[in-house]
Symmetry: C2
Subunit: 402 residues, 2 copies
């Protein structure tokens, strides 16, 4: 029997208990032993909860109990979570987490501690909720040199963009609706400004290069400037607009960025609708593979944490290899990266805008007083110079991802 | 250093050598040791090949060499492959295979031998080519009770159906074209009659239920009766026709079948085009997750074999848990399974056909002398009785997969 403690009895933490108990026979069979939830750490009491007698308020009860060998960190935040994770690992207790901030910020430090203490720090649930993506990268795509990872990693923004696309709705209205439905938070910045996707691509990029991609170094742009008008043109062009989190091995280094992008209907990411997430991974031998599913949700995320618990249980006293060094990977400046851009401008300014972007494809939609163009492939900085010089003559621009 | 032998220097076998050599540094890093290809078994010599001096014709050279601890079986067939795999496992050598016939037919026997001899029998490449699907089921979705697996598992038929859909082409013409391009074999029965997909879903079904799903027990229907006319109606209904390989946990047992099905645009399988494969897995906690990528091809398939080699190298003298018992899972009779059906018939017979399928939705396309309907949900046997009674009045029928 292996004793497990759950830190934080919120959405994911209570989901972990529900998955372990709900699929008990299967989980124990696959863990090759019985898993017993011995403690649940939370500030609150849960009177009437079937597990109320497991709830403790003092983390030391867990840390000092040598019987506990696996800890699920489902607290969120990086203060208490950092302290508790570190202490657990130092005591040789494996930690399985859904906390992307922790992993993005302290991943290599925790992995090193796990190694030194003969245990594991696993974080499948930190990216893509229940979609297996961390484990496939670490354990399945091991014969590949990974060349690119492109993901729709935030369900809230994908829900908003899908609604805007399908219903022609405005950003503000859909955001309000998503908040009412509980898909978006009252303070939605982490989602709509791309910060959440940024943490997740930092983790995936780090695993891709085997070094640390600092999330602070990742260019991050959210979806707040995307309008219903942009979708009119996207549709006319057979494209969609998605918030993409990308990491690419370019000739001169690694590019990592988060930005709304127009993508073509031929991309497998095009069909990723609503709150679904997907991660497209390109390997030098395999070509493209995609992992798709629910990127959030109590049970989906909890299922990924429990899969980590099962892997820890199967590998007691062994540290599984995860290649993520503390050394920081310097990213290429996106100003030097080349791509095409979608530009929308007033019809009245067409001549000036076309003159600035010679050789662009023009897109027009009947009955509108604006028009759009797709530039040739150029460096971000060259595009930005031309675009800024046009001042009020241009309305908006969106990156195009081939 | 770990010594590896490759059995069969054909497409996949030579790909294995290419992946191990081409990604040498990465592969060795992830294997936690150096992998050395010591022997290549083939009937032929390969003068001028950079590995010609590794080629041997006698399998006993490999079996009797205690230095060889991992064998890649990329021969195909089930005669020599069976004998060589068995002998290798009996000597404690792990076997990594791309041979779906072997796995479908002898999987549990080989897994048992591996267990008894402290080594591994791994077969990631046997389903979905380079797409990680076996390992995600065995190692990532471990907290899930798997409820259904639905796959597009054969690239050749998906290529043919995609061409038929996009170009309105005839089955025979596209098959000929696929043969000319090397996507389809001269004797294409294994693909177009669904036998290949049947072997693959037998493997996935077995892993889903943890027992043996015999491929002979799986109802299998190919795509040879699908016509350009059917696609006219599929399009009018916003659907596509795909060759689906399915396994479902129903209340009264497990259903496994291979059949062309109409699927809706809202299915993530809808966008799977050309030679791509995808596997949609439904778990009771996670909901749907999909794994997508190239289902065939030399390097993609070889990459999956090498990932298995790396996992064996990381786990020497340990048998990884794979839950697939020899006990045979009895399948439910598809005659008792309920679904809706698409029926196409001559316009002249409309009254009789509609009378037989009361309550059906009618689909008409202007300027045609046929029409179609979608029946209500009914048992296969009840549908079949009505359909057969109509004799010449009906042209064709296609299952609808919700």
């Amino acid at each position: 029997m292996i004793h497990v403690a759950v830190l934080g009895y919120g959405t994911v933490g209570s989901g972990v208990v529900e998955v372990i108990e709900g699929n008990k026979a299967l989980v124990n069979k696959r863990a090759l032993t019985e898993l017993n939830i011995k403690y649940i750490l939370d500030l609150m009491d849960f009177p009437g909860d079937p597990y109320e007698n497991k709830v403790v308020h003092d983390v030391n009860v867990i840390l000092d109990d040598p019987e506990v060998s696996i800890v699920c960190e489902t607290m969120g935040g990086v203060r208490a979570a950092y302290e508790f994770t570190k202490k657990a690992l130092l005591k040789g207790k494996s930690v399985c987490t859904s906390n992307k901030e922790m992993v993005a910020k302290y991943g290599p430090e925790m992995l090193q501690l796990a190694k030194e203490n003969n245990c594991n720090y696993l974080f499948e649930a930190s990216v893509g909720g229940g979609i297996p993506i961390i484990r496939p990268i670490n354990e399945a795509l091991t014969a590949e040199k990974l060349e690119a990872i492109t993901g729709i990693l935030n369900g809230t923004t994908n829900y908003i963009l899908t609604k805007m696309q399908n219903e022609g709705a405005k950003f503000e209205d859909v955001l309000k609706q998503a908040q009412d439905l509980g898909y978006a938070e009252l303070h939605p910045e982490a989602d709509i400004e791309g910060f959440d996707a940024c943490r997740k691509i930092a983790i995936l990029s780090s695993l891709m290069v085997g070094k640390t991609v600092n999330y602070e170094d990742i260019y991050t742009e959210g979806i707040t400037k995307i309008t219903a008008d942009d979708f009119v043109y996207a549709k006319a062009m057979g494209k969609s607009i998605k918030l993409l989190a990308m990491s690419k091995a370019l000739e001169n280094g690694t590019l990592a960025m988060v930005s709304p992008c127009m993508i073509d209907a031929s991309s497998p990411l095009y069909m990723v609708q609503d709150v679904f997430n997907a991660v497209l991974v390109r390997g030098n031998m395999l070509g493209d593979a995609m992992f798709y599913g629910k990127g959030a949700g109590k049970l989906a995320t909890a299922s990924a944490v429990v899969a980590d618990v099962i892997e820890c249980a199967r590998n007691m006293d062994t540290t599984l290899p995860i290649f993520w060094d503390a050394e920081v990977e310097k990213l290429v400046d996106i100003a030097d990266v080349e791509r095409a851009f979608f530009v929308r401008a007033k019809a009245a300014d067409k001549a000036a805008v076309l003159a600035a972007f010679g050789g662009a494809e023009v897109v027009e939609v009947a009955g509108r007083d604006d028009f759009a163009l797709v530039t040739s492939v150029m460096k971000e900085k060259d595009f930005a110079a031309k675009y800024e010089a046009l001042g009020d003559k241009v309305i908006t621009r969106i990156r195009i991802e081939a």
